[in-house]
Amino acid sequence: MNAIDASEHHERVDESVPPSLLAIVLDTNPHAWAHLSSTLPLATALANILVFINAHLASGNANSVAVIASHSNKSCFLYPTPAPSSPRPQPNATNGDVDMNGTTETTSYSVQDNPNKYRPFANVETAILNNFAKLMEGTKESHLEATPTTLIGGALSLALSFIAKATLLHSPSTSNSDEAMLAIADPEAIHTSYVSLASRILIVSVSGDLANQYIPVMNSIFAAQRKRIPIDILKLAGDTVLLQQASDATGGVYMKPERPEGLLQYLMMAFLPDPTARKSLVMPSAGGVDFRAACFCHRKVVDIGYVCSVCLSIFCSHDLPDNLCLTCGSYLSLRAAQSNPPALIPRKKKKKKRAGADSATPGGSTPAGSNTPMHA
């Protein structure tokens, strides 16, 4: 009879691996790929990434994938094919509903006819290739001349919103509207009770400095950190401080391969293991991370800057128009800080005038106004 103990039987060890959602942000910046064309042309890279996507889909039955292109003039979904309500109507997209199971029905050519290919793989590949071709056709020279960088911030937020939607749809509570509402109201609580979908973001980046998108990218990083979504970075070319910080803050993998030709092996070994497998593997990380921030006024990476005391915006110079913070509009006199470098306050008069200590602090010893020089 002692064998019957209510506590013993009910906690079943759940050995099943949660399905994982991989959102790939592919930097398709034509300028950067043109630089890489001698070692790793975009076509080869895309083919390798497709094999990697197949490997990811094969690693778990319910695994799903989303691919987002971060182009020079826009960011858009390559897979799943976006709804036809997008600016350019697509005759191929069927019902426009985003299908989470990776079985978006593409009625385009040759998907059904290849007996050498697993159907789900063929579906994803065709969709990605079609959308990619469409993206390239839509790229005009004027777009390229406008900017040499890529819109990684927009792509990241697309990825995050897709993941958030997929997580909500996936969690068992969706049938019940109350709990769905609860999930929206308090995402953390839901997250701890059902760890149902393990999501991660992989950024394949080729572009250089992204300081002009410091604010949107940083916001995305914090959102990912809060949602516990690791951001993996594969840096094929260029160097940015921001993406290093992204992988470091979210616990993702950062890799900057010396030989981009071996892209597939890097992907397979370092980026394929999902969060479950990563618990038992040693993953490469960024090592020394540059934590410097970019200023809000000129998008320059700064060592020492000025911080608005109200909204924590960072500025590189004290020349603010009308002494107003650019972000929140509150009064901010930085010139005072410039003329009065922070100094250690001598703490002689400790016991003397206790009552009036606050008001009587001399303006010279504390940086006047509402700013503090920041050392990052």
Binding site: M1, A3, I4, A6, H9, H10, E15, S16, V17, V51, N54, A55, A58, S59, G60, N61, A62, Q112, D113, N114, P115, N116, K117, Y118, R119, F121, A122, E125, P172, S173, S175, N176, L264, Q265, M268, M269, L272, P273, T276, A277, K279, S280, L281, V282
Partner: protein
């Protein structure tokens, strides 16, 4: 991995190397084995090795894994070695290296890249649209065929007659007999295990029985496995040509059609349709659970996600009108009322006792109730009320009041001290089963050590005298 893939994995592991080699020539088979048979970490290892230009030194592999997960690593490696997927080699400096088997690696690459000309993912047939059968029809068909098999097993015991009228074929009957599910026109304990599982696990256990039976039918196991794994990668609602199939596979078509795993318009048709049972063979999703919407609209509540509500007062409400499910439920429930879409009953001591006398265990009953628990029940963890679960177990233990163990009764000790010494010795060596101090008797299940001690003591006593 679900229970169903474990069965198939067990079967695969005991196959000889030659069969594995032959199996790995088919990319669809390799992909299916990779997708559903391998433990999670093993997949990571295989993928890391797949495109590696040279072999992988074992030392590097150890470095790749965290120290605390060496147990899971060893487990993954041992499965990979048992399936002959990786091979450990020694290089010139006698250091161990890991490599993937050539054929496995090239087939997996072909599967991922979609290259080659193996045509192993099924050749779709091109037919005009209007002659195609619909997905609903396939669902209905496979459900009917599969429920016929289950009903054949259960119906006789409960005393129901199949209203569908259709009996299953002689071949299927023989197979159920060979698998040990049905014997002397009665369902066996294994049969109950089979019936109470979820559909995907049922399909696999029947197919494993089919595979074991293959050599007698002079069918090639490799061909069967290849075909099954190919079925798992097909598209529902698409018809496929039989032109590329081998003789064994053509023979299989008939059997599988009878199980409801595939559908053929007529016996000599040149095409076949995989049903939902087939396309979910290599995925963990319960075969019919994805068909929820169609199934419920058909009224076949049996196949919807979950339909049983168990209350803490032992009452059971099952939203179903499937005779099969009612028959299964009535194996261990005292049925009271039946409505168009609902049956209700109560779990009683008597009904559980009856089930146990058939050979059903309490664990099976609980598992069945858990797998088919209504979504409302699935919100809580555990799904079933703990009191009910415990009571079902208690009712089972009730029938097992007597426990027998073979051994030796020691009695006739002259002095209390002697008795106590020997009891203590038996207790220490862990052989004591029962003792009675009043009668100076005890019972042990192994005599060797206690006997040796008695002999030693007697010799010592004799020497002293």
């Amino acid at each position: 991995m679900s229970a169903s893939s474990f069965q198939a994995l067990d079967y695969l592991e005991q196959l000889p190397v030659q069969t594995h080699r032959k199996l790995y020539e088919q990319p669809s088979t390799v992909l299916a084995i990779f997708r559903c048979m391998l433990p999670h970490l093993a997949k990571s290892i295989v993928m890391a090795l797949l495109y590696m230009p040279s072999s992988f030194p074992a030392a590097d592999l150890d470095a790749w894994f965290r120290a605390e997960s060496s147990q899971t690593k060893r487990n993954a490696l041992s499965i990979l070695e048992k399936l002959h997927i990786i091979v450990s080699k020694q290089d010139d400096e006698r250091k161990p290296h890991y490599e993937l088997y050539m054929s496995f690696a090239s087939s997996l690459r072909q599967a991922l890249e979609g290259s080659g000309s193996h045509r192993s993912f099924g050749v779709p047939s091109h037919k005009s649209e209007e002659r195609r059968v619909s997905v609903e029809f396939l669902d209905k068909y496979s459900q009917r065929q599969w429920e016929n098999i289950l009903f054949y097993l259960v119906g006789g015991t409960v005393g129901f007659r199949n209203p569908g009228g259709q009996d299953i074929g002689q071949g299927t009957k023989n197979l159920l007999h060979l698998a040990g599910f049905y014997n002397h026109s009665r369902i066996t304990q294994d049969g109950f295990t089979f019936v109470l599982r979820d559909t995907n696990a049922q399909v696999w256990s029947l197919l494993v029985a089919y595979l074991r039976n293959a050599p007698q039918q002079r069918m090639s196991e490799t061909d069967i496995l290849n075909f099954l794994f190919m079925l798992g990668s097909l598209e529902l609602g698409q018809d496929y040509s039989t032109a590329t199939l081998s003789a064994t596979q053509l023979q299989m078509l008939e059997d599988l059609a009878e199980f409801g795993i595939i559908y053929r318009p007529h016996k000599s048709a040149s095409t076949f349709y995989p049903t939902r049972l087939a396309v979910t063979l290599t995925s963990d999703a319960g075969a019919f659970s994805q068909a929820t919407t169609t199934a419920s609209s058909l009224g076949g509540g049996a196949t919807s996600k979950g339909f049983i509500i168990v209350e803490t007062n032992y009452r059971i409400y099952a939203y179903t009108n499937s005779l099969l499910q009612i028959a299964i439920l009535s194996l261990f429930t005292h049925m009271r009322t039946r409505f168009p879409n609902l049956v209700s009953g109560k779990i009683t001591r008597k009904s559980i006792g009856k089930a146990i006398s058939y050979g059903i265990t309490s664990a099976q009953v609980i598992e069945y109730l858990e797998t088919h628990a209504h979504p409302q029940m699935q919100k809580k963890k555990p799904f079933l009320p703990p009191t009910v679960m415990d009571q079902i177990r208690l009712w089972e233990y009730e029938r097992e009041r007597m426990e027998t163990s073979q051994g030796f009764l020691m009695k006739g000790f002259g002095k209390v001290e002697d008795y106590k010494e020997y009891v203590q010795y038996a207790k220490d060596t862990g052989v004591l089963v029962w003792q009675n101090d009043k009668l100076r008797m005890f019972f042990i299940d192994s005599i060797e050590q206690v006997g040796a001690k008695i002999k030693r003591d007697m010799q010592r006593a004799a020497a002293r005298a």
